[in-house]
């Protein structure tokens, strides 16, 4: 089918305000007489709160309110899965980002001064910063009586039998790090008293409906008394969920207490100190393999550091357990994924959501297997990779088009993979060595069996033919508003400039769940299509009456009603809209989409986990300086089956941005702690890729349209980000003959095989457990 707008690189609907400076981000909202809110945070990563004395702070001129947990009228804790996250710590603090008290004052400076005058007496408790330590029975408990709060498992076949049949075993341990979302916009809100009771919060919120539930519960208000309005969001990547819920609750509490508007803005330091991170994993992979390169058994154990609160850990680790074997055939599987509490920053949703960690291990293992059986990385993946009809580790039959081999072949050709891989293996004496590596992934689309998966979009045609679209799916910069607008424009046969998209407001659009899991286009987009089709039907009925022609022989194209048989323009879209209104017909279409059924049996670890999957390949070409350990990424190929690219430019943008973030994960980013105290709180020490670090990227868009998505579209936001790191690590191996088992592959890890850790006295270096070998010397025979 030939589309008019779908597939084109239309400008974003929200681009103009962003290039002229008129787009309003959270910090840009100000009102008369607003107060400034400030959070006093914990002094210790783990301590009992004995006493909070606010008397000195209260006396400061300009202070309007000081609140502690005791002042919260309703629920003092929140949490989407496990309700244990404190809005303000009441019994003890569990990490350094915990809020202890709130101040509202006439200026920022007074608020800061007041916070410093609050005296908190603590009884420090032992600090658990290592997740494996947290497991031990003698370890102090952070919540309740067990630090382990998640155990998901998947079993298939007979693992013992599988290992018996194997010719050899590969057993490796991998580690991944905490990383920071690093949205360039820090968190901010403005809470205002509502005219008829309740509160209106405008801010940088990703998941407005879950934040609203928590604000309502904390304030003991009905949901209709809490209005959360999304300001234009300066990036999120999964990172503006719970941290924003806490900020919304705190600002709303101060607002209700004072009856005045309250503004809260995190500095970058506060943001890094408080916000959640991507889970670090310890991964134990044991594969029983055959000489022919097939895999007879996989035994996998992963431990995720959940940090101080449960957050999204139960769901993040569930995606890990489902995808832990990769898109590869294996009849005998046993996977266990655990999450434990520590006193580190809590960990939650971040672009990838449990896949970047397991993909690093899987794709490293796959290259090891290739090496052991004398095959190349391409061939071993073609041999083991899923095809249409394959049955996954969870027992799900993949009945959509499984395009793994298509994306694999296309990217290998584009990168000239085999030639380069063979060439770079040849031993060299040059200190600078090139290498090429590849990684594959498959990924379940949307929430899957995590929970209810439905979304709504409203398409409202005005009497002049212009259109307003709004949705419960939010735009964080990924382009959701543009995708939904393009879909509506396609259905209505109008141009994009006729559409205005409204930022999400919880009181004006239906609860559509969170905008996570790369579900924006597939869920919100399908809802937009349905909404537009409802309106179109009314417009068409009107057009048919006006022209006397049958609906089947009419169409809308380029803002006109046309005769579908010969393309003749019969009336403008605007005229039809006006006439439709005159006839008293509704011009408002509400589209609702409920995803296809999924299922999960937690007891047996089986199920139809996701209603469809996507497939992707990354190929990285690197140069390793074996004298310094520095790795430069020279070239990159990113190939993904997106189903259908609704907006070609936006899809490419996701490809590029995902690779850049994955490059940071593989090579430089690490949010490091020392005894649960963060060692970096701003971009001077937490380094993310700059324009000088990101190579040219060759994008390959593969389109196998999927029945589950609008015009066949699936997902790209997270798939693009989940496999760059293993591709780079495999390229380092190809260059040096040495494998990195712990990311990021910093200079020390590449050169020395371990990280240099500063402990205690400055300048002293501690040698950590050696996971990687030095790349200085290449073993004989390679």
């Amino acid at each position: 089918m030939k589309h008019k707008i779908i597939g084109k690189g239309e400008r974003r609907v929200d681009a103009l305000g962003k290039v002229t400076g008129t787009a309003k981000y959270a910090e840009d909202f100000n009102v008369m007489h607003q107060l400034y809110g400030k959070v006093l945070r914990a002094k210790h990563p783990h301590a009992k709160i004995l006493k909070i004395d606010t008397s000195k702070a209260q006396k400061l001129d300009g202070v309007e309110a000081i609140l502690t947990a005791n002042d919260i009228p309703g629920d003092k804790v929140f949490g989407v899965v496990v309700r244990n996250q404190a809005i303000l710590a009441h019994d003890k603090v569990r990490y350094l980002g915990d809020g202890v008290a709130l101040v509202a004052a006439k200026t920022k400076e007074i608020a800061e001064q007041a916070a410093s005058l609050i005296e908190v007496e603590y009884e420090p408790l032992p600090v658990i910063s290592d997740p494996e330590e947290a497991f031990k029975p003698e370890s102090i408990k952070i919540h309740g009586d067990d630090n382990q709060f998640v155990h998901h498992h998947v079993t298939k076949g007979d693992i013992e039998k599988g290992f018996t049949e194997a010719d050899f075993i590969i057993e490796k341990k991998f580690k991944t790090q905490f990383i920071e979302h690093s949205a360039i916009e820090p968190e901010a809100v403005l809470a205002e008293p509502a005219e008829h009771g309740g509160v209106i919060v405008t801010g940088s919120v990703q998941n407005l409906f879950s934040s609203r539930r928590s604000v309502a519960a904390a304030l003991k208000l009905d949901l209709n008394k809490v209005q959360i309005i999304q300001s234009t969001l300066g990036g999120s990547f999964g990172g503006k969920d719970e941290v924003m819920t806490a900020m919304c609750c705190r600002a709303a509490l101060l607002c209700m207490k004072t009856g005045k508007p309250v503004k809260m803005v995190n500095t970058r330091e506060e943001s890094m100190l408080e916000s959640y991170k991507r889970h670090p994993y310890v991964l134990y992979y044991k594969w029983g393999c055959k000489k022919n390169g097939s895999i007879a058994a996989m035994e996998i154990k992963c431990i995720a550091d959940g940090g101080a609160y449960a957050s999204m850990s139960p769901f993040v680790t569930w995606r890990s357990v489902v995808q832990a074997t990769g898109p590869y055939y294996c009849e005998n599987v046993k996977t266990d994924v655990y999450a434990v509490y520590t006193n580190n920053n809590y960990t939650g949703a971040m672009r990838g959501f449990g896949s970047p960690q397991v993909n690093f291990a899987i794709e490293s293992m796959m290259d090891e297997l290739a090496e052991k059986v004398g095959k190349d990385p391409f061939e071993i993946r073609l041999q083991n990779g899923f095809e249409t009809g394959a049955v996954t580790a969870t027992g799900q039959k993949l009945d959509h088009r499984v395009s793994l081999k298509e994306v694999l072949t296309k990217s290998a050709e584009a990168a000239d993979f085999l030639n380069k891989w063979n060439q770079y293996r040849t031993p060299s004496t040059s200190p600078k060595r090139k290498g090429i590596g590849l990684a594959c992934s498959y990924r379940g689309v949307s929430l899957g069996a995590e929970g209810t998966d439905a979304a709504g979009t409203i398409v409202s045609v005005q009497t002049d033919g212009s259109v307003i679209v709004s949705s419960g799916i939010t735009d964080m910069g990924q382009g959701a508003q543009t995708q939904m607008s393009q879909i509506a424009a396609e259905v209505l046969g109008i141009s994009m400039d006729r559409i205005q998209f409204l930022n999400t407001n919880t009181s004006r659009v239906p609860d559509s769940g969170p905008t996570v899991a790369s579900r924006g286009t597939i869920m919100g987009g399908t809802a937009a299509k349905k909404g537009a089709e409802i309106v179109r039907a009314f417009l068409m009925k009107t057009a048919s009456e006006m022209t006397g022609l049958d609906v089947m022989s009419l169409d809308f194209k380029d803002n006109y009603l046309i005769d579908a048989n010969n393309g003749e323009r019969l009336a403008s879209f605007n005229e039809i809209a006006a006439e439709c209104f005159n006839k008293g017909r509704p011009m408002y279409g509400f589209g609702w989409y409920k995803s296809p059924q999924t299922s999960w049996d937690e007891h047996h670890g089986h199920g139809e986990a996701y209603f469809t999957f996507v497939y992707g390949v990354n190929i990285a070409e690197v140069e390793v300086d074996t004298e310094t350990g520095k790795v430069d990424v020279l070239n990159f190929v990113s190939c993904h089956d997106v189903g259908k690219a609704i907006n070609r430019n936006s899809v490419l943008g996701q490809f590029y941005g995902g690779v850049a973030m994955g490059l940071g994960y593989g090579l430089m980013e690490e949010f490091d702690f020392e005894d649960s105290i963060p060692k970096q709180l701003n971009f001077d020490e937490y380094l993310i890729p700059t324009s000088m670090d990101v190579p040219n990227i060759i994008p390959i868009i593969v389109e196998n349209e999927d029945a589950a998505g609008p015009f066949g579209a699936k997902s790209i936001g997270e798939p693009s980000n989940e496999l760059a790191a293993p591709a780079i690590i495999n390229a380092i191996y190809n260059a040096t003959g040495k494998r990195i088992y712990e990311i990021p592959a910093t200079l020390e890890r590449v050169l020395l095989g371990h990280k240099l850790t500063r402990k205690g006295e400055r300048g002293s270096a501690k040698k950590e457990e050696v996971l990687a070998d030095s790349c200085k010397i290449r073993p004989e025979g390679r």
């Binding site: 690189g9 400008r11 974003r12 929200d14 681009a15 103009l16 305000g17 962003k18 290039v19 002229t20 400076g21 008129t22 787009a23 309003k24 981000y25 910090e27 840009d28 979302h181 690093s182 949205a183 360039i184 916009e185 820090p186 234009t232 969001l233 300066g234 990036g235 999120s236 990547f237 500095t267 970058r268 964080m476 910069g477 990924q478 382009g479 907006n647 430019n649 936006s650 490419l652 943008g653 490809f655 590029y656 941005g657 995902g658 690779v659 850049a660 973030m661 701003n682 971009f683 001077d684 993310i688 890729p689 700059t690 324009s691 000088m692 990101v694 040219n696 990227i697």
Partner: protein, 157 residues
């Protein structure tokens, strides 16, 4: 704190102010003049979201104190379009989808303008160097580099 008097031109308009000498240009623009297009991302001169032009040079406005603009000319993203006609950079950023979340965009545009004003025909390396102080977490920089290159072609025409 004793206020100091300054004369300056901001977005082609002349101003005379008395200001606290410890105020940063970033805060002054946002809070006193309501020019909120200039963004605050780190306040230590690392992210570049607050980049403005000071006498044509790209600077982090979070590191400039207001008295430092005395007798000088400041250009922010709000002053980039002339007589409601967009600057070619603004057009090309939209055409190349170089604007995702948009938070780095004002700073990127100003760094790019500083580059093109001095070097109308930059190569890719020069473009990448010019924006190396502007962090972007969304785009991977590819489309931004393309957009700046495209704008330089258009300006030459």
């Amino acid at each position: 704190m004793k206020k100091v008097k300054i004369n300056t031109v901001i977005n082609n308009r002349t101003y005379e102010f008395s200001v606290a000498p410890n105020q940063t240009l970033l805060r002054f623009l946002r809070e006193e003049l309501g020019l909120t297009g200039t963004k605050c991302g780190c306040e230590i001169g690392e992210c570049g979201a607050c980049t403005v032009l000071l006498d044509g040079e790209a600077v982090n406005s979070c590191l400039v104190l207001v008295p430092q603009i005395d007798g000088k000319e400041v250009l922010t993203v709000e002053g980039l379009a002339k007589d409601s006609k967009l600057h070619p950079l603004q057009e090309s950023f939209m055409d190349h989808d170089a604007v995702h979340c948009g938070f780095c965009t004002p700073g990127m545009l100003m760094s790019a303008k500083a580059l093109l004003d001095k070097n109308p025909d930059p190569d890719e390396k020069e473009i990448r160097t010019a924006i190396s102080g502007n962090l972007c977490r969304c785009t991977g920089y590819v489309q931004i580099v393309e957009a700046i290159n495209d704008a330089s072609e258009k300006i030459k025409e």
